[in-house]
């Protein structure tokens, strides 16, 4: 028998593009800001300073401190507000994606792997959910649950899980037909082993891509909830809430709404760039 002597070549590792690194850096900055902001530049949602209302960026407030990004309609420092908001917004975005993603993963796996009636039932539930206007579902749910951060996360997660479920289901469905899954089956592997060892790993990547897209969209959806008066509680600051409450001032004190809106856009852009990097590994499938 001939022994193959040659080294088989390792496939050249794909280089992570520079913009992914930049995006990651910006995101890290925001996370850091969210974590350290309260320490460095504390924001107290309850403290108001009416004499310093609506000051443009770079103004001095009543008490002599410099408001880098100006003040809002209650005289609070916008920089502090945006820093505090970054935490809430990122937490809402991530928590929603984690919660929705976990639910979607479970449903998607069951539905894609087992097929049959569980798939039929779960898919129809997903259809109902998709056919139901999501923003309205959010309005209704937010109304039922009342205002709190947790409830917003739940509300948004409820409107998102289907997206994850679909993504996972599609992957599981195609993974189920893969030859190596058949091969494991032939070795006598049980459902659990096949699911965890062989199906699940091929679902992560699309799930991650969907997740990164959804983190951004969720943060935007949170802003929309605020616009409809169902956003985070008054004593929390979030970008969405600040954008929404400052919108009446766009004509006079543009910074209140614009600064957090741009922060939001920047984060979504960066998250998107990171998502693209995940996506590069496989076939892109954009979502609605």
């Amino acid at each position: 028998m001939s022994a193959p002597a040659l080294e088989a070549p390792a496939r050249a590792r794909r280089r992570t593009p520079r913009r992914t690194w930049i995006a990651l850096g910006v995101l890290a900055l925001f996370v850091l800001a969210g974590l350290l902001g309260p320490v460095l530049h504390p924001y107290d949602a309850v403290a108001t300073d009416l004499p310093s209302r609506l000051l443009p960026p770079g103004s001095r407030t009543e008490d002599g401190s410099l408001a880098w990004l100006g003040t809002d309609q209650l005289g609070r420092d916008l920089l502090a507000n945006v820093l505090a908001g970054s935490r809430v917004s990122l937490v809402v975005g991530l928590a929603t994606v984690v919660l929705g993603g976990a639910a979607g993963l479970l449903v998607g796996l069951v539905s894609g792997y087992f097929g049959g009636w569980p798939d039929a039932v779960l898919s129809r539930i997903g259809d109902v959910q998709l056919a139901f206007p999501s923003i309205l579902l959010a309005i209704l749910l937010a109304g039922v649950l009342g205002p709190s951060l947790t409830n917003i996360v739940i509300t948004l997660a409820v409107t998102r899980w289907v997206i994850f479920a679909r993504v996972v289901r599609a992957s599981a469905l195609s993974a189920r037909e893969l030859e190596y899954v058949n091969s494991a089956r032939l070795l006598g592997a049980g459902h659990l082993r096949i699911l965890l060892r062989h199906i699940l790993p091929s679902c992560w990547q699309p799930l991650l891509v969907a997740g990164t897209v959804q983190v951004g969209l969720t943060m935007v959806a949170e802003a929309s909830l605020s616009f409809l008066g169902l956003g985070v509680p008054v004593d929390e600051a979030s970008w969405g809430a600040t954008v929404s409450l400052g919108r009446d001032y766009l004509g006079s004190a543009w910074w209140i709404s614009t600064v957090p809106a741009l922060a939001l856009a920047l984060v979504v852009l960066c998250v998107g760039a990171v998502g693209d990097a995940f996506r590069d590994a496989s076939d892109p499938r954009a979502q609605l």
Partner: protein, 478 residues
């Protein structure tokens, strides 16, 4: 149809802060909607009209009180409804019956009215169970339509009245198109038509006013005034209103049962500074539980801003470390409501009272308000009739139990005031009530709003109104 672009040349385009949802004069839910009432006042007539501070004849030429419980109204002759039929006493009787049979926010106003009878084609007699001095005032709210149409569902979309304008097109919550009623008994209106779009977003409304897409915008929030002032072709005016903020304490809940605590809460807030900084020219500090221009107002001694005293008072009341409570409101209740609430909460936190802000939906707010399921409640209130009876007399009786406050002495004063036919006496009694409520600090009464509104410069003859229901019939273009 949407009626978009249907407004004819020369029409007045005016936007008010609320949507018009229904034009049926007896529809329960719109009975107190200001925007709806503005439209209804252009389409329908009432027996009595309000002209500034005074009452003036409307469809009734004159009226007299023949006994403490009997009023006789003489109708104008030759009044024609939009459908061509003529006004008779039968119509008035039917309208009163109809309004009594509909459950609405106005129901308490009509409860004492036992009957109305048509003595002849142009005379109506009202009989009340108790002396009702406010009947003529109340009648400014009773719209008259042909008797056969009182319960017609079509009235909600294309109603028939006798007012200076008739409805040409109506999309609920969106736009109302009115056209001139050329055979109006009071003389032709000067504008050929009126178009009343609802513009939800402040920015678009202000833009529309500045661009001339709107002739009139009512109201303009205080913080947005700067965007309109000085804009070409736009005139900004203000008018004191009968709308005011109140921040009630739920007196049936701890620790607000104790007047000392309530007073301490009041002392903790720099009301004067707050109103000045937040509202600027958009509001005036209140001196009584009702606006100063309302009949029955009597100025009280303001609570001075004194956090130290407030802290002391709390300590004496057995709350040395303050306490936790909550304040509920819905954002749309009035301009800067959220900011007002936050500013007060911020002040309270200074004396150790931690207040959870509860900004909730109107529907939930109402439900909780009605079931007394709240600690503190911030809202605006409008003395629609300009008479203290409408708010003080209605809200603070033990029977109404709106804020867990019961004061038999006050009940007696209010009952007496309600029955008094003499205006001075009523005014004096309501003044007494003002003092009791102020001293008992059933709530904080921070500010009466001053309505600012914008007009295109070529508009003439516009008369603002303190009750947020300006009259548009006499408006003309220069």
């Amino acid at each position: 149809g949407t009626g978009s672009g249907a407004a004819p040349e020369g029409a007045l385009r005016a936007a008010f802060g609320q949507p018009v949802t229904d034009l049926d004069p007896y529809k329960a839910n719109t009975a107190v909607d200001e925007a709806t009432l503005i439209v209804k006042r252009l389409v329908f007539d009432t027996l009595v009209r309000r002209e500034g501070e005074k009452l003036a004849p409307g469809l009734a030429r004159s009226w007299e009180r023949t006994s403490p419980t009997t009023w006789v109204f003489h109708l104008r002759r030759g009044v024609q409804f939009h459908d061509g039929s003529r006004l008779t006493a039968r119509d008035v009787v039917a309208c009163l019956k109809r309004t009594r049979s509909v459950e609405s926010a106005q129901t308490p106003l009509w409860e004492p009215v036992v009957s109305a009878t048509a003595d002849d084609a142009h005379t109506v007699t009202f009989t009340t169970s108790v002396p009702l001095g406010a009947l003529p005032v109340n009648l400014t709210l009773l719209f008259i339509v042909p008797a056969r149409l009182v319960a017609d569902p079509a009235q909600s979309r294309s109603p028939v009245g006798s007012g200076p304008f008739r409805v040409a097109g109506f999309t609920p919550s969106t736009t109302v198109e009115l056209e001139r009623n050329d055979s109006y008994w009071g003389g032709r209106a000067r504008l050929p038509a009126v178009s009343l779009p609802f513009v939800a977003e402040t920015s678009s409304a202000i833009t529309a006013l500045r661009n001339g897409d709107l002739d009139l915008l009512w109201p303009i929030p205080p913080d947005q005034l700067a965007e309109v002032e000085g804009a070409e072709g736009v005139r900004v005016e203000t008018v004191p209103s009968w709308t005011y903020y109140l921040s009630w304490f739920n007196c049936s809940r701890k620790p607000f049962g104790d007047p000392a605590v309530r007073r301490a809460m009041w002392q903790a807030v720099d009301i004067g500074g707050l109103v000045r900084e937040l509202f600027g020219a958009g509001a005036e500090r209140m001196t009584a539980p009702i606006p100063s221009t309302v009949l029955g107002h009597r100025a009280q001694h303001p609570y001075a801003y004194d956090p130290a005293a407030a802290r002391r008072a709390l300590r004496e009341a057995g709350l040395p470390r303050g306490f936790r409570t909550s304040l509920m409101w819905f954002d749309a209740t009035g301009p800067l409501a959220r900011e007002l609430a936050q500013a007060m909460i911020s002040a309270w936190s200074e004396i150790g009272v931690e207040v959870e802000p509860q900004s909730i939906e109107k529907a939930q707010w109402l439900e909780r308000l009605n079931t007394l399921d709240w600690d503190m409640n911030l809202q605006t209130n409008t003395v629609t009739t300009g008479d203290a009876g409408f708010s003080v007399g209605r809200l603070y009786t033990s029977k109404a139990n709106r804020l867990g406050y019961a004061n038999p002495a006050l009940d007696a004063v209010l009952a007496k005031a309600d029955r008094a036919a003499d205006e001075d006496e009523r005014s004096r009694l309501y003044g007494d009530a003002c003092k009791t409520l102020w001293d008992d600090a059933v709530g904080i009464f921070p500010a009466t709003l001053v309505t600012a509104y914008g007009l295109r410069r070529d508009l003439a003859g516009f008369t603002p109104a303190a009750n947020n229901q300006p009259e548009l019939a006499d408006v003309a273009r220069r």
